[in-house]
Structure formats: C-alpha cells, structure tokens
Subunit: 219 residues, 3 copies
C-alpha cells in the first residue's frame, strides 16, 4: 500500500508544531504565565500530539525531540511574546492558527500511521488523536474543559473529515500525499471557520430512548 | 512460569473495554456533551487503561488500535445514546458497569504483564493501573476528583485484591487463567458492591505521630 | 561521547523517587486522602517523571516497575503517614524535599538521555521533563495549577540550570557523573531556596510589541 509517493515533507510536521505552539504561547500570555511558562506551554501544546502519536501509539522514538522541533517551538514562543497582546485581542487569530495546526497534524498523524503499516481505521484514529492531543493537553493544564468535548464545536469532527479525505485521496485514488494533504487541510479549515461563521451548532446528545418521566415533563 | 494454560480469551479484554466505554458514554451524556464528545469520552475511557498498559508500561504496540476494539467502543456509544437517560437515573447501573470494567481490566492487565515476563509485584501494579487508568482519565477530563483518590471508596483496593487472587490462583495453584479471572472479577465486584451496600468507609489517613498542638486541640 | 565514567549510581534515581514520593504523600495527607490515596499519589508523583522519560521519550521498558522502586515508594508513604501532620506544618520541608527531587531527577534524566545516545539539546529537555513531570502530574490530579507554570517560581528554570551545569561538567570537562551531579543538584537547590528566601519574582510575560490601546491606557 505504501508507495514512493507516500511521504509528506517535514515542513508539514514543523508547521503543525509551530501553529499549535503559538496557541500554547498565546494561551500562556492570556493566563499571565511568566517566560518559562510561555515556553513550556508552547512546548507541550506544540509537541504533545506528536509525542503521543510516536511514543504511545506507534512505539517509535519521538521525532519531536530533534533540535529543529525545539527551534520551531522557540520561534512560536518569540511570536507569542512579540505579538501576544495584539493577537489575543483577535479571537479570529486563535481560531485560524488552531485550525491550521489541527488540519496539519491530522494529515501528518494519518500519514505516519499508514506508513507504519497500520490499516486505515486505526490510522484515521491516530490522525485525529494527533490533531486534538495538543489542544486537550493545553486545556487540561490550564484547567479549561477540553475543546474537543464541548458541544457546539466541530473540532474532532473536522479533523476526522480532513484525515478521511486525505486517506481516500492517497490510498484510494493515488494522489500524491502532498496534494492530498493540502486538500485535507483545506477541508478542516473550511469546516472550522464555517462552523463559527454560520453558527453551526451540535447539540448535547440526547438518549434516543427516553424514560417516560422525561417525555412527560417535555425535557 | 508461563505455561499453555496461561492465556485469557480476547472476550475479557473486549468486555473490559465495553464496560468502561459505557461509563465514559454515560458520563458524557450526563455532562451534556454532543455526539462526538460521547464517542471520544467512551473511546478514551474504554481504551485508556489498556493504552497506558501496552504503550507506556509494557512497551508494546497498543492492541487497542485494532478494529474490533473500536467496534466495541462504538457499541458502547450506541448503548449510551440509546439508554443513557434511563441508565443515568440508576446510580446502581454505573456502579456495577464500572465495577465489571474494573475487575476485568485488573485481570487482563495482570495477565499481560505476567505474560510479558514481569514478576508478580510489577504485574499486580500494572493490573491495578490498567484497571483504574481509564477512570482516572475520565475524571481528569471531566474535572472531577479522581475516584481512586477519594476517601471512602474501596476502588483501587478492590482491583488489587482481585488481581492478587488471580495471580495467586494462576501462578501459585495452577488454576487456568479463565477460571482464576472469574474468581478475581467476582471478588472485585463483591468488594465494590459490599462497600457501597454496607457503607464501608475508609478514613482520611491520619499521621501516626501527631504534633503536640494537634493532640492538645483534640483534632 | 559516553565513556566509562558516565554513569550515576542507582541511589540517585531511588533518592529522586523517594523525595518526590514524599511530596505526593504529604500532599495526599493535606488533601485528606485515605491510605490507598496516599499510596497512589506517592506512587504517581515518585515514579511519574521517570515513567514519562523511559516509556514515552526513550522508548525503554520503564525501570520504575522494578521492586526496589516500589519499596522506595512504600518507604516514602510510611514517612508521610508517620510524620505527615508535623511535616505539613513546615512549608520549608515541602520546598526542600521537592527541590531535592527536582535536582536529582534533572541529573538522572539528562544522564539517561545522554546514555541513550541523544545529543545534549534533547537530553537537557528530557532532564527537565523528568524533573518537572512528577510535580505536574501531582498538580493535575489534585487540581492545582501546575507549579511549573505559575509565575514567580524559578522551578523549571532551576532544573534546567542544574541539568545544563551537569552536562557541561560531564561532557565538556570530563568530570565524573557523580561529582557533576552533586554540583548540579546543589545549583538547583540553591536557586530554589534563594528564590524563596530573597523573594525573587518572575513576572507575567508581557508582549514586547504592545497594541496602542494598551499603551494609551497605561496597562
């Protein structure tokens, strides 16, 4: 299944790291953390998803320990420190940066899992976990309810749709990974932005078989 | 030490996944998560303990990535969505389902650790961590104080007692793993239900050597 | 790069486990956990950093599963149960015990990463993560804001400075690991105690390029 066209340039991985690290840095600025806190939150959010993917799911030495990933986190930290106050005023910035990281990591995670020989079901799952992992860690550490669980956000669903498009294009249609990834990232970005722009809302899941009391009271 | 009789059927592992995934799904329903949230919490709680066991402690490719585990999580999600409202009214349901997951994972974790060549001390520890891991993750994500740390719950202690009985029966007495596991699970269930039924309470640990002030004030 | 002089005695690792396990046990006593909760928090805090280091970053079977680590945790639990009430009255005790664990794990983590063949940048990072990991897990479980992120604490910075001194002495100057580690631990302890004694404060990171509004309002 894995042919020569099936690789993604390192730039995708580093870009995902960068964008998520920026969301970590911006969050740390908003929370009033000091320099070390800004660095650590950028580090954990930028590298967390990839670390779970490599170290826990794929049982590989985490690539994220290599120096260019750390340099990427430092760049994201610099952006957060330089522009944090200005960027944090614009809710749109956080949304877009987070969506870019989400899309990129969904592609990178799916691709690495396929490359490790997993079939497409676990590969998509690892892609989604790679994509949402950094944000879940960010939210746990800063004691927010994780975005992925909050109703009314097409978050994990967006990552899943993008990863599925990517896998279908690469494995099914033989599109090169790079073009397929651009398509998948575009889809993730589109779903995230459209869901906010048009106020798409998911609802709290309701039991399909309700108890009679609940039906009576009209809840 | 590892003879041919020392295996547990896959059904034990899948049943543990199913029961814990149901506790995740029911919790997500109660918290008002949407469908994706219900799926993810069922996934994380159902597979979390096994993932820690395989990926972190035993350094093996996590079996939980295989499609039949995912199908089990989807089945648990369906149960939660169909019956969640009704089941969440009955505190007993959650207690029993959680206790079954706890017992099953304590057996499966201990057995896999023994099979990996670990001696019984770390094997019991991994069994307990496998058993309580999913629930700890569930409680951290939903920002509850983890059940395992709350005074007045024979939770980890029940998992430990069951795992110890299992190891003693299999390793010491040569009972086949399947029968030993049924005994161990029964013990876990018994301890959990009896502790609630008869109001067994543990107390906050008190320092054995108190400071004189505390003794004076009668605290 | 790795010569024969480059090993640390097991005592360093066990001492780090002991000190962090004591901070876990003392925290559990203060929180009113029962005996099982005291044991588990001591276990998780004492072994958490080493577990992340081995199982996630270095992809090795976690050494912390071996019985003498568990015995060390039990000893720390005994100290917490015997002296917890008395020790918890003295804020200095917690500070010093935590600082000793921090320094020891920073050395052990850096050394193991270097020994695994990593270059010094990721080795220092793993040393710092090893050092702060247990405390972050302790704070997450007990729902405190992690110490490493709180402004005004030279915490991760102290671990980093000590690890860097250690690496420089061992790799650069050929000092034996044991002496270099004593130097590094001393530096960590000095920074932690001095920062509290002299009220050193870091400040919340402020954007270097402020928005004009903020400048106007004098914030």
């Amino acid at each position: 299944m894995m042919t020569g066209h099936f690789t993604l340039p390192l730039a995708f991985d580093l870009a995902a790291t960068f964008f998520f690290a920026v969301t970590g840095g911006l969050t740390a600025m908003r929370k009033g953390y000091d320099f070390v806190g800004v660095f650590f939150l950028a580090l954990v959010v930028g590298l967390g998803g990839g670390l779970l993917r490599d170290g826990l799911f794929l049982q590989q030495m985490p690539t994220v320990m290599e120096p260019h990933y750390l340099a990427t986190v430092l760049a994201a930290m610099a952006v957060s420190l330089l522009l944090g106050e200005r960027l944090n005023r614009l809710a749109m910035v956080f949304l877009v940066v987070d969506a870019l990281g989400l899309g990129l990591y969904a592609m990178v995670g799916t691709q690495k899992a396929l490359l490790a020989g997993l079939s497409w079901v676990p590969a998509l799952l690892i892609g989604v976990i790679n994509a949402v992992g950094g944000g879940v860690i960010r939210d746990l550490i800063t004691r927010e309810e994780p975005l992925v669980f909050r109703p009314g956000e097409f978050y994990a669903a967006a990552a899943f749709a993008g990863a599925a498009l990517f896998a279908a294009l690469v494995v099914g249609l033989g599109v090169t990974a790079q073009w397929a990834a651009l398509g998948g990232i575009g889809l993730v970005l589109l779903i995230r932005l459209a869901s906010v722009r048009f106020g798409w809302k998911t609802r709290a899941a309701r039991a399909l078989i309700r108890s009679s009391d609940a039906a009576d009271s009209g809840v």
